[in-house]
């Protein structure tokens, strides 16, 4: 560790790999970046920090040639450069994982990893060599994924890992990772960090964006903070506290952190009367084995489990997004088989999916239209929502979730990743469901907004709404839920009231099961 820091200090003295200064980027009506600087050094992990919409992704895209800059200079390897396309920056040794998984789901894992760089013999793509090489890189990352499988058959977290594997496989001088860990579990994050450390030791410069402060402090050497498209400062991680960082990011005093603490409320036992939803022996082949579950009114059920434990699959079954092939579901003691999302919506169940890119966001519609979509669908298309009601609701949720820009007519495609996520959440909250299923609702959301969303969920539950809450972030699950369901290997292995349960307790439950099996 000491050696590492010394190396990093050594690298500081040498010439930066990339130096951006005075960079401004504007979109019609928005100044996304105003005179921002970023200096990246070899053998250093540089965290790019800021709230949702601060301009992190824009700065990255300005560097890699996705966006063109209005003013400023970009110096790469000592020479001023302007890239006109991602292909050019890639050729110059910059390898990037963009915020949303940007791969082709119709191709195989190996093809996605090596597209554009396929090994060839006699001018023809050597598929065998390609699969072998992809397999090697995946193994190096500690991933057990079949390189020949189609990418689209894997869950979003695996796709994110494949995107990382693709970037790592390129022999780059600069590796940019824009929120690579947003849907990963602790295990995968640890593996990723291992790889990042190795690359850093080899002298690669790395840019890392994340809203998880612990991760940033664990891996980065230096941080640049942005706020509202402006440069706030550059800090050495070792000399900065979490508090200082948060203040730099939000530009205000402590209140946000206080809010997070407040959200950690007492959990009351609410299991009286008849359950709102009762599930018996629910399952689907290859997805979830027989699960029993009761959800009471006003209760928050947290589902914990590692990646691939079946937590998302269970949510999809509850909503009818996948059709169960066994078991019974009762909503308010009426036997219901949910075969389609439509039926679930009729039973006042709402589901915010983890896969916002392909299942949620309608990029070419406005914030307002995206928000009222589910509500309109549940009313039927022949009964339009009165304009007044629509305006009122949209305004309410833009405020409640602090969505930026605040203009309801802004196009969804122009929102930052975190703000898109907030709009999707609002889409389901607006329908005022009796049961709200949230799959990774705070993915990619900054800590301030995360606290707000957690608060909102807690308030809604107090008003009588039942919530099923799924998140890779165990702390968050524990903070919010009244009862905890632990999943492993596509089975429910534990259920208990959330009284003084800690993260390590949950990990032990999951690990304990492993030991029993062995």
């Amino acid at each position: 560790m000491i050696q590492m820091t010394a190396e990093a200090a050594e690298a500081t003295r040498t010439e930066p790999v990339v130096q951006m200064s005075g960079v401004s980027v504007s979109f019609p009506g928005v100044k996304a970046l105003q005179s921002v600087g970023l200096t990246l050094r070899a053998g250093e992990v540089h965290a790019l920090m800021g709230e949702n919409g601060a301009g992190k992704s824009t700065l990255i895209k300005a560097l890699t040639g996705v966006y063109s800059i209005d003013e400023g200079t970009i110096i790469v390897g000592g020479e001023p450069r302007t890239f006109h396309s991602p292909a050019e920056s890639q050729a110059a040794g910059i390898s990037t994982v963009y915020q949303e998984v940007n791969l082709c789901t119709n191709l195989t894992v190996a093809e996605n990893m090596l597209l554009g760089r396929e090994p060839r013999s006699f001018g023809r793509i050597d598929t065998r060599a390609m699969n072998r090489r992809a397999g090697e890189t995946l193994t190096r990352l500690g991933l057990d994924i079949d390189p020949k499988s189609q990418l689209g058959t894997h869950p979003i977290a695996i796709q994110q890992l494949v995107a990382i594997a693709r970037a790592v496989d390129i022999d780059a001088e600069l590796l940019i990772l824009d929120e690579p860990t947003s849907s990963l579990d602790a295990d995968e994050v640890a593996k990723l960090f291992e790889v990042m450390r190795t690359l850093r030791a080899e002298g690669v410069a790395i840019v890392f964006v994340s809203h998880f402060l612990e991760q940033v402090f664990a891996i980065s050497d230096r941080m640049t903070v942005l706020r509202n498209g402006q440069f706030v400062g550059e800090y050495l991680t070792a000399e900065t506290t979490q508090l200082q960082l948060v203040q730099a990011m939000i530009g205000r005093e402590l209140e946000t952190l206080d809010k997070i603490e407040q959200a950690a409320e007492e959990h009351t036992v609410k299991t009286q009367g008849a359950p709102l939803l009762e599930v018996l022996d629910l399952g689907r082949k290859g997805s979830v084995e027989s699960v029993d579950l009761q959800v009471f009114e006003g209760e928050v059920i947290g589902i914990a489990g590692l990646l691939g434990s079946g937590r998302t699959e269970l949510a999809r079954l509850l909503f009818g997004a996948d059709t169960p092939d066994r078991g019974d579901m009762r909503m308010r003691s009426k036997g219901t088989k949910l075969r389609t999302p439509r039926q679930a919506i009729d039973h006042k169940i709402a589901f915010s999916s983890e896969n916002r890119r392909s299942e949620g966001v309608i990029a070419d519609l406005s914030i307002a239209d995206n928000m009222v979509l589910a509500m309109q669908a549940s009313r039927g298309w022949l009964r339009p929502i009165p304009a007044r009601t629509k305006d009122r609701l949209v305004k309410k949720y833009i405020e409640a979730l602090d969505i930026r820009p605040t203009d309801p007519n802004a196009l969804m495609r122009n929102l930052s990743g975190g703000n898109q996520q907030k709009v999707l959440l609002a889409r389901w909250l607006i329908t005022e469901p009796e049961l709200l299923i949230l799959d990774e609702p705070t993915r990619g959301i900054d800590i301030g907004a995360k606290a707000q969303i957690q608060q909102l969920v807690a308030d809604l539950a107090k008003d009588g709404m039942s919530v099923v809450f799924i998140s890779a972030e165990l702390e968050e699950v524990l903070r919010l839920s009244d009862r905890l369901v632990v999943m492993r290997d596509r089975r429910k292995i534990d259920e208990r009231a959330n009284e003084d349960v800690t993260v390590s307790d949950v990990l032990e439950i999951i690990a304990g099961e492993v030991r029993n099996d062995a």
């Binding site: 292909a87 119709n106 554009g116």
Partner: protein, 337 residues
């Protein structure tokens, strides 16, 4: 003894088991469905009509549709990227007109062939450039291309022009014997085009980029792939294939006719879809498109063998088939995503 028993059993069951256990990758399913359909139709025809069961029936379908195979191959490239090319029928007609008129003015056959192929490719290039750089819907741009090419036919001549050039006529009357059966040189050209296309699509970076663009253009761009070149490239290929199909068509009909090949773009699209290529792009095989053409051709054979059916039945059957295949694709994609 007991130790040997399983070995013997294994031997006895291994082969059929291996066959039973062999599952092709899902991307082959639609093509396999098309092939099964083709075999089924051929079987039904053989039972129903005398003489249908002869291999020559299939070879004749090839002979009569070689130009359509070439056309469908070019169309497959475009559709794989998520685009569409409505101009191909008109470009076929234009190619026959250019060939016929230049041959009449005494140009040599090789020069004519090069001119026609160049014209088609350049038309494709122009459409591709407009589609990519001005971000205009391929539907609109190629629709304009369709009118343009058809209009140019009339500029060249208002009447049909016969082709009397020796090279062309001998190519037209040439046959290649395979045992008791025969095909024409055009069939060989079509099959060569098919093989080259398959190799390009599956074994070159260009080909893989075609699929990537069809899967997600945005992702392909961010992955640093040559999206612009690929998108323009598929229209050049489609233009080239249309011109080549036009040459084959002019040999088939031995004339240039400005009203020829009307609606042929729709036949090509139908063949591609029946062959299992998704209209939204990213999934499909050229082999499927070729089988799709054979299916369309076989329907025609049914009609001619029957003799009592009106040729409108061709259109009706194609319509029903197209619908059935799109429905199958729908079910198929719903299950895999």
């Amino acid at each position: 003894m007991s130790a040997q028993a399983p070995t013997i059993k294994d031997l006895g069951s291994s082969l059929p088991d291996a066959i039973r256990r062999f599952t092709p990758p899902p991307r082959f399913y639609p093509v396999l469905a098309t092939i099964a359909l083709f075999i089924g139709m051929f079987g039904a025809g053989s039972i129903r009509y005398e003489g249908f069961s002869s291999p020559q029936t299939i070879l004749s379908v090839l002979v009569d549709n070689s130009f359509l195979i070439v056309l469908a191959v070019g169309m497959t490239f475009v559709i794989l990227t998520g685009g569409i090319d409505l101009s191909v029928g008109s470009v076929v007609a234009l190619s026959t007109m250019i060939a016929a008129s230049t041959l009449r003015s005494g140009w040599s056959a090789p020069l004519v062939i090069v001119t026609v192929l160049l014209t088609g490719s350049v038309l494709g290039l122009l459409m591709g450039l407009v589609i990519h750089y001005f971000e205009i819907q391929p539907f609109i741009v190629t629709l304009a291309g369709m009118f343009l090419a058809r209009g140019l036919c009339y500029v060249i001549s208002l009447e049909s022009i016969p082709i009397k050039n020796g090279t062309f006529t001998s190519f037209a009357s040439g046959t290649i014997e395979i045992g008791d059966y025969f095909i024409t040189p055009s069939v060989v050209v079509a099959l060569v085009v098919l093989v080259i296309a398959a190799v390009v699509l599956h074994m070159t970076r260009f080909g893989r980029t075609v699929y990537a663009v069809g899967g997600s253009e945005q992702s392909a761009l961010l992955m640093g792939l040559a999206v612009a070149g690929t998108k323009v490239g598929v229209y050049v290929i489609s233009g080239f294939c249309s011109a080549l199909a036009g040459l084959l068509f002019s040999i088939y009909t031995l004339s240039g006719y400005n009203l020829g090949a009307v609606g042929m773009e729709l036949d090509a699209i139908a063949a591609v879809v029946i062959g299992g290529t998704l209209l939204t792009g990213g999934s499909g095989l050229v082999l499927g498109s070729a089988v799709g053409v054979l299916v369309l051709g076989l329907i025609q054979s049914f009609i001619s063998f029957d003799g009592t059916l009106s040729s409108w039945w061709t259109k009706i059957t194609i319509g029903v088939l197209l619908l059935a295949f799109v429905l199958i694709q729908r079910l198929f994609t719903r299950r895999t995503t």
